[in-house]
Amino acid sequence: MSTRHSATIILTIAAVLVSVVGLMFKTARAQTSNPKRILVLYWDTKEIPANISFDQGFQGGMQSEPIGNYELYNEYLDSRFSGEQQHQLFHDYLKQKYVGRQIDVIVATPDPPVDFLLRYRNDLFPNCPIVFTGIKRPPPEAITTGAGITGLVQQTTHKPTLDLALKFHPDTEQVFVISGTDEHDKRFESTARQELSSYETRVRINYLTDLSLSELIERTKNLPKRSIILFLWQRSSFEGENRLNAFEIVSLIAKSASVPIYSLGSRNVGHGVVGGYVQDAERNGSKIADFVRQILHGTRAQDIPIENAPVSPMFDWRQLQRWNIKESNLPPGSIVKFKELSFWEQYKWRIIGVLTLFALQTGFIGLLLVERKRRQRAKEALDQLNTELEQRIAARTAALASKSHELETFAYSVAHDLKAPLRGINGYSRLLLEEHAKQLDQEGQTFLQTIRSSTEEMNQLIEDLLDYSRLERRELKTERFELQTLINNVLGQKQRETKERAINVVVNVNGGSVVGDINGLTQALNNYLDNAIKFTREVLEPRIEIGSAETLDNCLLWVRDNGVGFDMKYKDRIFDIFQRLNRSEEYPGTGVGLAIVRKAMERMGGRAWGEGEPGKGATFYLEIPKPRPSDLKL
């Protein structure tokens, strides 16, 4: 790559980078141009739970506003720096801090910061709308004049909370109201007194205001029976004690208190109080954010009606259990926290799952058992059927064997009995010819000769028939033997004949052994050779070839001759018993030979067939099946 080329690429990348970065700056500028400024003025410090909760709710509510649309400033009117002079100093601090920085909306929570703002508003943040939360409703002129005011008025819930407590503990005789400490003022107590004065006739109300923590614990430890505590607010900073939050105080009291504690703050639920109608600072924060956003988008504060802050009954489930308060007695819409689920509630679905699985499994096992029983019955029935069938087969076989034996005896007797008279005919015709020839003319002698040859023919027929029937009766003897030996044996018997007729016998068998019925094979090969010798009688140079071949499943043996051959349309017929293709004067024979061959081969699972052409010789085959490995026990 050339230097010039790489320089071009670097320049291009740099240009792209510059334009991208430039675009990013442009976008950022566009987003941050004129962000609205929001100032939240809290009471006390950043750390107190109510402020933390409010901040969470407020920021959560503001999240739907695009980033860069607003800037948030938090200030704290610290209760530890009280008094006219301190307020003046805080005013000066804010004045100097925010000079030249226009605030668009100001939020104040709760009443002390609202009071502060109402007093210094025109000086500090003129023309700035205020959104507030507090117990007191600002005076009407402050709401409507100038930039206006809107917000949430918090409800005092002393009455409903005490109503609840009295409902849960109807035999209550005394109520102990805990409040105060910070600034040693009696703000909470005085509010409570106003609210609860109407209850004085029903129960005795005691106010435990501005006590140190140790005093408070001591007092609440041994309260009389049939009392309840109403915890309003308490923060301790007495006598070198650590400054503790209200919820920390109440949890310390609850540890030793002998009576139920009710409270008005949501933050206290979970620290030993039963519950009560509570304010939720987080929810208030969220609602205030809603108001602020409306103002940011152009709605005038005066046009947003002031609302009551939502209040909801909230309880600690563990305390309900401790004081034996039924959930069904709680007012509608109650929030029950820290509920400990029972084993059933906690693992309901798992238990149901496991039980279902168990039930299914049981069902399956049941089904399997039923199925097994059914199969067993079916098997028994089948076994019985089989036994019956076997018995019937045995009976039939016995009947068949008996019939077969009868038939054998019959064939044997017939052969025997047929031969005896034949012997007579043959013998006496011979004797006649020899001893009484003089009394017979030429024709008479020819007749006698015919009688004799007829008896010979008949004798041969009987012999062949006996051979054929003997084949069926003889036991099949399967053994391994050499093909060459078999051929030599059979050829040996034909030697005289083949020599006399000068037949060229070619054996083309390349070794190998076969497994089969040697008697049957001998008979088959013998018949093939007899035929080959017989049907080459008229050929000038008779030739007989014996060959073999092997396939995967079979061993093939054939006898080929150059004799008269045959027409292939008779290829099946020639293997049937008593079937002949030639006149007996030409080629004598009984028509049993090939039938014997076929029967012998079929008995050992083999085949026999022939191929030929008239005048061109014939080839006859024997196919001997190879034993399957499972049959090999030789």
Binding site: Y412, S413, A415, H416, K419, A420, P421, L422, R423, G424, N426, G427, Y428, R430, L431, T455, E456, N459, L466, R470, R474
Partner: protein
Amino acid sequence: MTNSLHPILLVEDRAVDIDLTKRAFARRHFLNPIQEARDGEEALRYIERWDAGEVVPVFILLDLKLPRVSGLEVLSLLKRHPKYSSIPVIVLTTSAEDQDIQTAYSLGCNSYIVKPVEFEKFMDVASHVEVYWCALNKTLT
């Protein structure tokens, strides 16, 4: 030839076969007298005659298919007889069945010959039997 004085017992039910056998033997100038038994019972009666002092035959030609008592029964009784079991018994029958041959030998026959149909062959058989059993074979008698 001492055997020539002894008779031959021919156990055969068919007159034709008896005649042909006799003629075949005669043709071969067979000198031994030929005794006949036409069934198994008659054959077994010879035992009493031998006990009474009659000359025992040089051999017995036994057909298997006989009326009343079969040839195999005759063979069995003879071959189990304490005195006459040594008389050679030649089975001469039409049957060439393996089973018959096996049974006959197991019962103790001395020879088994299938009766030929052709007269020439029959004469051959007669000739061979004569030479062997009368001239060559040595018996206890």
